[in-house]
Symmetry: C2
Subunit: 206 residues, 2 copies
DNA sequence: TTAGATAAATATCATTTGATAGAGATATCT
DNA sequence: AGATATCTCTATCAAATGATATTTATCTAA
């Protein structure tokens, strides 16, 4: 989209030019520039993300590494940079969408994965002991890698490998190795108390 | 700074207001708004980052985990969000600074750490076998975690733990566990060929 | 104190930009 | 065809904005 490249301060005339249309026409469809931007946000953030998740993640016939790799690779496949740019611009301008996105990630990805890792390690389930800050931050190791990969690709514009799936698999396997080795001690007595606190409901908005 | 909050499209009048000065006065010190922005960039990106690095990282008397934790925690300590915001805005607007930053990270952090991890694993040194894409991406697992933590703190504005150092240590230890376990196989025959290619000189600019 | 310079304010200009009004064109229905 | 409704364009306004010119205040040195 236009605003993802030019920023929200871009003029409606430039937008109209790019659409091959006259500037005044925009105001037949949108009462104001703000309404137009609202529409842009709505389109960009509606279904995007969070589709492939959920289902594939629970398919116990594949290894957790395969499932996570599949989810995040699918994620990066559908990502075209536009939503990411809009997303960052919105965050920089003080919108609170980004925080809510993390809430979604927590619900759809962090909780299932940590539940499974806890089971592997013979730790109590999430219903018995709520998700801790340490576990959330542990998962952020993986999530950050993917996000930053997308940023390097679409924002930084750096030269990336063609073999995205291999990189995602490397991220996932590195994370899983570290998480499996470290999760028990996150619940042990030697872990910092701050990491054992339950994760608060984040970014809650009225 | 002003532009890190308001964006580069903010008006010189608002800037002057915030400085408690009249708008025209700005043009006694800067020939144009663009020159003013250049100055802002210069200030923001000059020495910032990359100071604590280098030295501490080579102090073999501490564990690699301690050294990395120290470096990145110091990094996050000096970070006030301003540089990060400017940085992201610049990246979104197509500036190529971000790529160069990664070049710095590669030289000051990735190379020493991978060299050390290779030595631990009895793998050939970097002079014998250049840094691979896989190794760089491996380190990105750690680096992304830190960057994204800063973004969550200063851009997303989410509620973060007070105990930043504990989180950084968790990132570092998780990365190290995964990297130590995975580095040998990154050089083995089962690794994807794409990850074994040498990392190209990135983001080179004339 | 005064001459000269430096710093800051006022006033103003030309462009850009969001937004509106009304004319012309195109399609649709009877 | 003719009436009507929809769509798009031209023309224009008022406010905001980058930039300049001119005036006023403040400081410094002899």
């Amino acid at each position: 989209m236009f605003f993802s490249k030019e920023g929200f301060a871009a003029s409606t005339r430039d937008l109209a030019d790019q659409l091959g249309v006259r500037q005044a026409l925009l105001y037949k469809y949108f009462p104001s520039k703000e309404a137009l931007l609202d529409e842009v946000f709505e389109k960009a953030f509606s279904l995007h993300w969070a589709m492939a998740w959920s289902k594939v993640l629970f398919d116990q016939s594949q290894s957790l590494e395969d499932r996570l790799t599949h989810c995040y690779a699918a994620q990066l496949d559908t990502e075209d940079g536009i939503a990411l740019r809009l997303f960052l611009r919105a965050a920089l301008d003080g919108l609170l969408l980004p925080g809510r996105r993390l809430d979604l990630v927590k619900e759809k990805l962090v909780l299932p994965v940590i539940e499974e890792l806890r089971r592997e390690a013979n730790l109590p389930g999430l219903d018995a002991q709520p998700l801790t800050i340490g576990e959330f931050e542990l998962f952020m190791v993986l999530h950050s890698s993917i996000i930053f990969y997308a940023m390097r690709t679409y924002i930084y514009g750096g030269p990336m490998t063609e073999d995205m799936r291999a990189v995602v698999r490397l991220y996932v396997s590195t994370f899983l190795k570290g998480a499996r080795a470290g999760l028990p001690s996150l619940h042990g007595s030697e872990a910092p108390a701050s990491l054992k606190l339950p994760l608060p409901q984040k970014y809650a908005v009225a």
